[in-house]
């Protein structure tokens, strides 16, 4: 089914290319139709064949290798950001579950932050790279990208985990009280296991958020080595080499899908013994 969907997209692309005006056109007076010339809109098969040919005229490295290296670099940054964001997010959620005052003070900001383009901070955070020093440690530029990813990931993770921690049924909590169990014991034996079905979608959101954060950070500053920079570079070369930028885009898509795949695999493992119902 998924393959059929992709096939449908390809068909639409090629159809428009065959039928559409080469120099772009107007629709209802607005210059909205894109150009369909070879330079603006390469054939789909050109995009794929581009993978095999060398990246730059005269270089040995094929585009495929370059894109793969870039995607792998960004993947590691995203993973680092995801882990950092996850740790902070879960920790904050536990703090909020324990201290109602903290929850009332902080949660509204967490909820609002998901509606606000925090990504605006990207250039600022990345500018710390190379300039910030804490003792002997000089802030490497790549860390900014991971931190941005962590920052974007930590909000949905914190909100989702808190929801899950609060989801334990009243009679289960009473049961633990009847056992005179401490808050910590109740946390680990009841609240965390109850929270898992809520943490799963929250972590998925966090994973895609961390990819977005990393890619945006790379793009806004041209961080060397990542897929974001490749996209920008290839886009600039598009007049001479139109298919190349698409290869990088496929790379970015692969990055996102791999990250999602890893998280989903962990989800499936963690939920393996649970009844097959879902929590929205």
């Amino acid at each position: 089914m998924f393959v059929a969907a992709l096939a449908l997209v390809v068909v639409i692309w090629e159809t428009y290319k065959a039928l559409g005006p080469a120099d772009g056109g107007t629709l209802l007076g607005v210059r909205i139709l894109p150009r369909t010339s070879e330079y603006a809109m390469p054939h789909v098969w050109d995009m794929f064949s581009r993978f095999n040919r060398p990246e730059v005229r005269g270089s040995d490295r094929s585009v495929f290798d370059a894109v793969l290296a870039g995607a792998w670099y960004s993947f590691r940054l995203s993973a680092a950001g995801f882990v950092m964001g996850g740790v902070v997010g879960v920790g904050l959620a536990v703090l909020m579950a324990r201290f109602k005052l903290v929850q009332r003070g902080v949660l509204p900001y967490l909820v609002v932050s998901q509606t606000v383009p925090l990504i605006a901070l990207a250039p600022l955070v990345v500018s710390w790279g190379g300039k910030l020093e804490v003792g002997p440690f000089v802030w490497p530029r790549w860390l900014s990208a991971s931190v941005l990813g962590a920052f974007l990931a930590f909000f949905p993770i914190a909100v989702g985990t808190l929801r899950g921690l609060a989801a334990a049924s009243a009679s289960s909590v009473e049961l633990m009280q009847s056992y005179a169990a401490s808050w910590t014991k109740t946390l680990f034996k009841l609240r965390f296991p109850t929270a898992v079905p809520y943490m799963v979608p929250a972590f998925r959101l966090g994973a895609s958020a961390s990819v977005i954060g990393v890619v945006v950070a790379e793009i806004s500053t041209g961080l060397r080595g990542g897929i974001g920079r490749l996209i920008i570079e290839y886009a600039r070369e598009a007049t001479g080499d139109p298919a190349k930028v698409y290869t990088a885009i496929f790379g970015a898509a692969a990055l996102g899908l791999t990250m999602a795949g890893v998280v989903i695999a962990v989800d499936v493992f963690v939920m393996r013994n649970r009844p097959k119902e879902s929590v929205s």
Partner: protein, 266 residues
């Protein structure tokens, strides 16, 4: 010597505010060791509140609650009772066996002792093959049996039950009543049992405590003189119907005076 001794206990919610509720007023009750006592009454009569006072999940506004010759709070810290609710409340991420082991884990038992005791309890409730299953793979009645096994895992002298069979169908309910009596006879546990069902209260108990709402108090205590033995014929005996009638009259007496009762039991 009483298993449970309640002296002039009262419980008021939202004291002084506009939504103040007199859940219990001046309730006194003694439960002898090994006795089976049911609390019955319409919604809002305070029976679940009274159960939670015994369990020390709530503190009385006035009066004393003594369990196992200790203040209720100490009895809870010492784990002198087990509790079962209407929803079996098994943890869906644990196997059946590990669910039974939960109170033992919290008491710090070592692994082997826990497994041994859990298997023993599985035998007691006659579900030995299900130890490695997950709760959602079991029927409602089976889940309740596991909940009872969990409540009795540490062999407490007292069992507190809040309408545990309320969610089961009639046939399963009657079966579970027989099972409960068998298990309690085998362990010699004292039971305080909250229910909505008159036949259930009479079938299970030595005494039925009838309560009424607004404010919650005990209006009548019915001695069920069916002797110690219960079986399928018990439900056909005259003494059974007489006890049911006695309880029903106790309930009816104040039901007429309280038309339009509230929904919550606390």
């Amino acid at each position: 010597m009483s298993a449970v001794s309640i002296r002039n206990a009262s419980k008021v919610f939202n004291q002084g505010k506009s939504n103040q509720v007199d859940a219990l007023r001046d309730v006194s009750l003694d439960v002898k060791p090994g006795e089976f006592v049911s609390l019955i009454g319409p919604s809002g009569c305070g029976k679940s509140t009274l159960l939670r006072l015994i369990a020390n999940l709530l503190e009385p506004t006035n009066g004393d609650v003594v369990v196992n010759d200790k203040p209720a709070v100490q009895a809870r810290l010492d784990q002198d009772y087990g509790m079962a609710f209407q929803q079996a409340g098994l943890f869906e991420w644990r196997t059946v066996r590990k669910n039974i082991e939960l109170p033992l884990e919290l008491k710090g038992w070592d692994k082997n002792a826990r497994t041994l005791r859990a298997n023993e309890m599985l035998q007691l409730v006659q579900l030995p093959e299900f130890g490695d299953h997950y709760p959602w793979q079991l029927s409602g009645g089976m889940q309740q049996r596991i909940a009872i096994a969990r409540a009795l895992a540490a062999h407490p002298p007292l069992l507190l039950m809040d309408e545990p069979f309320g969610a089961l169908d009639e046939m399963t309910r009657e079966y579970m009543q027989g099972e409960l009596l068998r298990i309690c006879a085998a362990t010699g546990t004292t039971v305080v049992f909250v229910t909505h069902s008159i036949p259930e209260a009479v079938y299970l108990s030595n005494r039925v405590v009838v309560m009424s709402p607004r404010p919650g108090r005990i209006t009548k205590v019915v001695d069920v003189s069916l002797g110690g033995e219960r079986n399928e014929d018990t439900r056909n005996r005259t003494a059974f119907f007489e006890a049911i009638t006695a309880v029903r009259e106790g309930l009816r007496g104040m039901h007429a005076a309280h038309v339009g009762l509230g929904n919550d039991d606390r």
